[in-house]
C-alpha cells in the first residue's frame, strides 16, 4: 500500500511548489547592481557643457538618478511624478539624459519644467551600459557611501514613490556616512 502512495506524495510536493509559484512574478528580475558601488561616470552638464560631474562628487549624500530622454513617451508621463518627488525635498534628483540630442532635451525641459538638480548628458549611451540601463525611464537610489540601493525600471508612479522611494530615502538619510 505504502509504495503506491509515492506518486501521490510527489504530486503533493509539486502542488505546493506550484502554489508558491502563483504568488511569484517570473518576469521580475532583481538588478545585480543592488548593493554594489555606483559605476563611475564623468559627464558634462546639459545646460553648461563645460561643467562636468563625477559619481565621486556626489559621495556623502543620498541622491536619485533618473534616466530619461526626450524621445521617450513614458518619460513624459513620468515627469510630474519626478517633479512631485523633488518638491518633497528629501534628496536631490539628478537626470541622466540618455542617448538624446541636447537641443531636444533642453526644449523638453523648457516645455515641461526642469526639476532636476543637474542633467548629465550621456550622448552615446556608454554610461547607460555601465549602469545596466535597458529601458528608459529607469530610476536609481544611491546612498551616502555611493552604493546603489534601489532600482526601478519603467515610469515611476506616485504610488511607488510614496510606498517605496520616500521611505527608503528617509531611512538612508538617517544612516551614518
Amino acid at each position: 500500500m505504502k509504495r503506491y502512495l509515492i506518486p501521490f506524495a510527489i504530486f503533493v510536493v509539486l502542488v505546493i511548489f506550484l502554489a508558491i509559484g502563483l504568488k511569484l512574478d517570473p518576469s521580475y528580475i532583481p538588478s545585480p547592481f543592488i548593493g554594489k558601488p555606483a559605476p563611475e561616470f564623468d559627464l558634462p552638464d546639459l545646460h553648461n557643457p563645460n561643467q562636468r560631474l563625477k559619481t565621486s562628487d556626489l559621495k556623502g549624500q543620498v541622491w536619485v538618478l533618473n534616466v530619461w530622454a526626450s524621445w521617450c513617451t513614458a518619460c513624459r508621463a513620468e515627469h510630474p511624478v519626478i517633479q512631485r518627488l523633488v518638491s518633497l525635498n528629501i534628496a536631490p534628483v539628478y537626470g541622466l539624459n540618455y542617448k538624446d540630442k541636447p537641443e531636444d532635451a533642453k526644449k523638453w525641459l523648457q516645455e515641461l519644467g526642469d526639476p532636476y538638480k543637474a542633467n548629465l548628458v550621456d550622448r552615446t549611451g556608454d554610461v547607460g551600459i555601465d549602469w545596466g540601463v535597458y529601458g528608459v525611464p529607469e530610476t536609481f537610489v544611491i546612498d551616502k557611501k555611493g552604493l546603489i540601493r534601489y532600482k526601478y525600471i519603467g515610469p515611476l508612479s506616485n504610488g511607488v514613490v510614496d510606498a517605496e522611494i520616500v521611505p527608503l530615502l528617509r531611512k538612508l538619510n538617517a544612516e551614518a556616512d
Binding site: 501521490f8 504530486f11 506550484l18
Partner: protein, 654 residues
Amino acid sequence: MIPEIGQFALILGLVFALVQTTLPLAGAHFGIASWVAVAKPAARAQLLFVAISFAALTWSFLTHDFSVKYVAVNSNTQLPTLYLFSAVWGAHEGSLVLWALVLSLWTASVSLFSRSIPPKVLARVLGVMGFVSVGFILFILVTSNPFERLVPAAIEGRDLNPLLQDIGLILHPPLLYMGYVGFVVPFSFAIAAMLGGRLDAAWARWSRPWTHVAWVFLTLGILLGSWWAYYELGWGGWWFWDPVENSSFIPWLVGTALMHSLAVTEKRGTFKAWTVLLAIFTFSLSLLGTFLVRSGVLTSVHAFASDPARGAFILVFLAVVVGGSLLIYSWRASQIRSHVHFDILSRETGLLLNNVFLAVAATSILLGTLYPLIVDALGIGKISVGPPYFNSVFLPLMVPLAILLGVGPLLRWKRDSFHRVWTKVWPIGALSLVIGGLFPLLVMDFYDVRAAFGMILAVWVLGVTLRVLFEQARGRGFISVSRSFWGMTLGHIGIAVFIMGITLTSIYSTEKDIQLAPGESYDLAGYTFRFDGVTKITGENYGGSEGKLTITKKGVYITTMKPEKRKYRVQKQPLTEAAIDAGLFRDLFAALGEPLGNKGAWSLRVYHKPFLRWIWLGALIMTLGGLFSASDRRYRKLAGRKKKQRAVVTEAVS
C-alpha cells in the same frame, strides 16, 4: 441577446455535467439502473448546450458585437472573415470554451461508440468525464466569462494579435486540445476500472483506440505549432523548448508510453498497475500543461495575460482531480496481482524499457520546465533553463530508445532466444552502419560523425521495421497484415524519417545575417540570393514593405522570394513574414530585417535548411500509423460481437 443565450447555455451545460457526474457514479455504486441510464443522455445534452454556447460566441465575432468585451479586445471590423472564426479561441476565455466544447465532444463520442461496454462501466466513465467538465465550465463561468458585456460598447475592436492571424493558428489550438483533452478518455476508463474494482485487460482494450485517436490529434497539434513557429516567428527554428511547447510535448511522451503499455496490458494482462498510473499521468500532465500556460507562472514566448485567481482555480482543480485519482490508485493498485511472467529477453521487456526511456525523458523535460519556478520558490535565485539543458538530456535518452525500437518489434512475447534475434538483426545492423556511415560522404557537402551516427540510427530503425513487416506479410500478402500492425510499422517508419530530418537539418543548416543594396547578391550553400529592392504593400488590416529576392543556382533561375515586414494598423505591431521556398530536400528561408541607410539597402536573414521537411513528414507518417491502429478490425469486431450477443440476450429475455 445572443451573448446572454451563450452564457445561459453554458450554465445549462454545467447543470448537465453535474447530472452526468453525480447520478451515474452513484447509480453504479448503489446499483440503481435508472441512475446509470442517465449517463448517456446527460452527456449528449451537455454537448448540445456547450455547442450552443460556442456558436453564440462565434456569432458575436461574426456580427462584430463589440458590446462583448472579449470580442472588442480580440477582433476588428477589418479582420478577414476566416480569422473571425479563429479569433474565438484567440485568447484565454474563448480557448477555454473551446476546451469545454472539445471535452463534451469526446464525452458524447464515448457515449455513442460504447456498445461493447457494460452500462455500469460506461456510467462510471462518463461520470468521471462529467466531473472534469464541471470543473472546466465552472472555471469559465467564475473566472473567465467570455460573454461579459462592455458598457458602453466599443465602436471598434482592438483586433486580433497579428501573430495569430494565420492559417496554422486556426487549426493548431483545436487539434492540440483534441489531443490534450482526448487523454481524458483513457484516464476516465482507468478511474472507472479502479472504482469498479476490475482492473483486468478489458479497460485496456476499450481505451486503446481512444488513446490512439487522442495521440494522433496531439501529434498533429504539436506538428502544426512547430510549423507555425518556423514560418511565422521569423527565427527559422522549429522547436524552442519553450515552457508552453514543453507542456504539450510532455503529455505526448507519456501518451506514447501509454499506447505501448496498453498493448502489453491488453495482450498479456501484465503491467496493470503501471498502465493505470500512466493513464492518470497522461491526462494529469495535460491538465498541468493547461495550468502552466494559463496561470502565467512561467515566462514564455507565448505571452498570456496572467491572473492569480485563474491560476488558483486551476491549481485547486488540478489538486482535486490528480490528487483524487492518485489516492484511488494507491488504494486499488495494491490489490492488483499479476501472475504473468516473462523472461529478460521478451517483447514485454522491450516495451518496459520503452516506457522507462519515455517516462524518464518526460520527467527530465518536466523538471527543466519547472526548475526556474522551483528555484524561485525556494528563494535561491532567478534562472532560466534553455535548449542546452533539454538537448543534452533528451537526445542521449532517445538514442538507446531508437536502438531498442529496432529490436522491439522482432521480439516474441514472453520468451525469446538471443540466437534467433541476433541472426535476424545483425545483417540490418551491418547494412545501417554502411549506409548511414557513408551517407554524409556521398550526399552531403562535408563529413560529420554526428550526421553519420544519426543516419545509422535512422536506417537501423527503418531496416528492422521493414524486415518485420515483410516477415509478417510473408506468404499471406500485405493485405492480410492487420491495421494494428500497419499502425506500428508506420509509426516506427515515421520515427526513422523524423530522426533523418532532425539530424541533417541541425548539422547542415546554414544561416547568415547580411545587408544588401538593390542589385547586390549573396551566395549561401550554392544558392545565389539577389536582392531586387523593397516595395510598399497594403493588406486588409495591415500595411508594410515587401522585399524581392531572386534565387539562382549556378545561373539557373530557381524562384523568387518575397519576405514581408508588416505593420498591423490597429495593434501597431510589426510582424515579419518570412519567405520560404519549401522543398523535400531543402528549405530556403529569407526574412526582412531593417532598412539601412537611404540607398534602399536592407538587412536580411537567409537560411538554407536541408531535409527540414522530413521532421514534419516523419510526424505525419506517425499520425497515419496512429489512425491505422485506431481503426483496427479487432475494435470494430468487438463492438459488433457484443451487439449480437446483446441481441441474443434480449431475445432470450423477451
